[in-house]
Amino acid sequence: MEPMEPSSQEEKAVRAEPESVRVAKHSRRTFLFKLSLLANGAVGAVLAVPILGYLLGPAMKKGSSYNSWIALGPVSDFPEGETRLVNYRNPVTTEWDGETGDVPCWVRRVSGNAFQVFAINCAHLGCPVRWFAQSQLFMCPCHGGAYYADGTRASGPPERGLFEYDHKVIEGKLMISAGKMPTLANQARVEEPLTQITGTGSSERLAALKKPKPRCGSCQG
């Protein structure tokens, strides 16, 4: 009992056509099918543009475009010679990021306006390094990387020192340029365009700031 098979009468009706007509029909249908494949290919290609654009969107943005200047607090918050943990809200967040949008960093005030601001992420594999004031070391809990007070590599698997944020002091406030998680591919590197600074005499202050570049023992290049 195979009800889906065509009945013999139907088959006969199809076979009633002359051979030449059937061949012509077949060739026409084959051509139309190929044409439909072509049309679908074209539609697929058009469709691929927005899909790939959407998918690759996060990777197409220039790294520095995430960065902006954030105030970490008045300079007086940071006693000279000490290294302190400071949290800031990442400048680029979504409403549903919750606490993941809060990022910690280590601020070391060497003296006066000379600061070093280190990323929390170990240069090895990104785990959170901890500062030990007594032994003057940053230690990483994951694979035992250690760094000296100035962020240079002390021992363990990291191949370089801690990542440093670009920073400056504006009107007695310590500012850092942050926004992107630092990794070996995207170090918290000095970014040039300082367009967000407003107010009178900002350009002069910026020019003055550029001169005493903080010591950066770990920066590459």
Partner: protein, 499 residues
């Protein structure tokens, strides 16, 4: 009741006429397999499939409550654990099911490797099996991320840091993985999509193909020494074997699979009941840095390998080794598609399997107690043993305080407590002289940072005096032979002249 039976048969016929699936299904179930394939060694594949089914069902049930939002995921897990009736049990089943699935897939793989099942004509079955292994590991990793706790957060950081080391396209890959500049909401949602849609979809298709090929090509016959696989004769030989010794797969061969699957499921249930769900550990709040992140069991060995690689080798190793390993697994059946199947005739294969298993085992074991990590609170939590302070001078006792205060303890153990990063110091004075200790402390070396900037001269003196008293079980102190010569008043005698 013949009436009821009659109705049942009619119902079946009604569906069968339209679906037509009953007949082929019965044929598949009753197809003949060589008698020697009915073995307790051949039960792991079906157990992995059953576990996959368990994961799909428990996964869907968890998705009824779980909220894939960075600000709510952790709380929704707490809610599942404490507020939803039996939510904790479902989480535990899904978590333990995942560990069991990884384990069973690995055992299955080792078994088919040892039995030469990847040889002709089952090469593609093996290759798809390799993809299934990778997808299973992918499920384990993405699942760990969905737990969105501290370990998940920093695990993502480790993943991003590894990707960032890829030459040229590292930054691009990190952006693709995180979905934004930092680990946050978009990161969780893409791992959710991977864990719930993409990878399970691939798994379903691949499991289907894998099973289809097992049915089409037959279950690998029990290997015998000397029974060599040749492409020209194998299929005929296999068919003859099936004809001669064939038994119906269901029920004659499959009862062992069914019993083992039941045992595995019972084990998952038992573990879930006894040990409960995994985590979640602390909140995914990066500002809480008092944490020692660790991956789940299946990835501990990678975590350990990453601790032991020298910095200069790390990036090349990270990318060359997996490429070679996966490439070798994929190419294996194409290179060794013929020949002996029995393990006694394949010593290299047995040796390889043993070496790989022992290596993975050792690194996993090391990963469970991470001897390379400093113990961050050892300096405040582990006291100096009283015996090491008895009869010591005030200077030496002061040194013990320096030892404690400068966090030496985080990496060095004494009296069996403290970090394992550096050597235990209970007998340090029997190995190093005072001068050597001063040099090592101030300048560092090996894996030890230099403490020259962190210690005052008086602290260094006190510390080294304390360390000089640590001679284990009264071992004799280390001596510097040359120094002894300098200090002694005698001038060395000139060698006697030869006559």
């Amino acid at each position: 009741m013949p009436g009821l039976r009659q109705i049942g048969m009619e119902l079946y016929d009604w569906f069968e006429q339209r679906l037509g699936l009953g007949k082929p299904f019965v044929e598949v179930a009753e197809h003949e397999v060589p008698e020697n394939t009915s073995s307790w060694w051949y039960v792991f594949g079906s157990a992995a499939t059953v576990l996959f089914g368990l994961q799909v069902v428990t996964g869907i049930l968890l998705a009824l409550v779980y909220t894939p939002s960075a600000s709510h995921a952790w709380n929704s897990l707490q809610f599942l654990d404490h507020n939803v009736k039996l939510g904790w049990f479902l989480r535990a089943m899904h978590g333990w099911g995942s560990d069991f699935m990884v384990a069973v897939v690995l055992v299955h793989m080792a078994q088919v490797f040892l039995f030469g099942a990847y040889k002709f004509p089952r090469e593609l079955t093996w290759i798809i099996g390799v993809i299934l292994l990778l997808m299973t590991l992918g499920m384990a990793f993405t699942g760990q991320v969905l737990r969105f706790d501290q370990d998940a957060y920093w695990g993502l950081g480790i993943g991003a840091s590894i990707l960032s080391r890829v030459p040229w396209m590292g930054g691009w890959l990190v952006d693709m993985m995180l979905g934004g500049p930092i680990i946050a909401g978009p990161t969780l949602t893409r791992f959710f999509a991977l864990h719930v849609f993409v990878i399970p979809g691939i798994l379903l298709v691949m499991v289907g193909l894998h099973l289809w090929m097992v049915l089409r090509l037959g279950i690998n016959d029990w290997p015998m020494p000397g029974r060599v696989v040749r492409k020209s004769t194998y299929v005929r030989e296999y068919n003859e074997l099936t004809k001669k010794t064939g038994i119906a797969f269901i029920p004659d061969a499959a009862w062992k699979d069914a019993i083992f699957a039941a045992a595995i499921m019972l084990s998952v249930i038992a573990c879930a009941l006894l040990f409960g769900p995994f985590g979640p550990s602390g909140q995914p709040d990066p500002t809480i840095i008092q944490t020692a992140p660790k991956p789940d069991f299946a990835f501990l060995w990678i975590y350990a390998v990453l601790a032991y690689l020298p910095p200069s080798l790390e990036t090349p190793f990270l990318f060359i080794a997996p490429t070679l390993a996966i490439g070798a697994m994929l190419l294996l059946p194409l290179v060794a598609g013929e020949g002996e199947k029995h393990w006694s005739r394949r010593p290299t294969a047995v040796l390889m399997l043993a070496v790989i298993a022992v290596t993975l085992g050792i690194f996993t074991r090391l990963g469970t107690y991470t001897p390379w990590s400093p113990i961050m609170d050892a300096w405040t939590s582990d006291a100096i043993p009283v015996a090491y302070l008895r009869g010591r001078t005030p200077l030496e006792r002061q040194g013990a305080i320096v030892f404690q205060d400068k966090q030496c303890r985080n990496c060095h153990s004494i009296g069996g407590a403290g970090g394992l990063r550096g050597p235990a110091l209970d007998a340090i004075a029997a190995r190093m002289t005072e001068d050597q200790m001063i040099r090592q402390v101030l300048q560092g070396g090996g894996n030890m940072p230099a403490y020259g900037n962190a210690l005052s001269p008086s602290e260094t003196t006190a510390l080294v005096h304390f360390l000089s008293t640590l001679r284990g079980n009264d071992l004799s102190p280390a001596v510097d032979a040359s120094r002894h010569m300098v200090l002694s008043s005698e001038t060395p005698q000139a060698p006697p002249k030869e006559r």
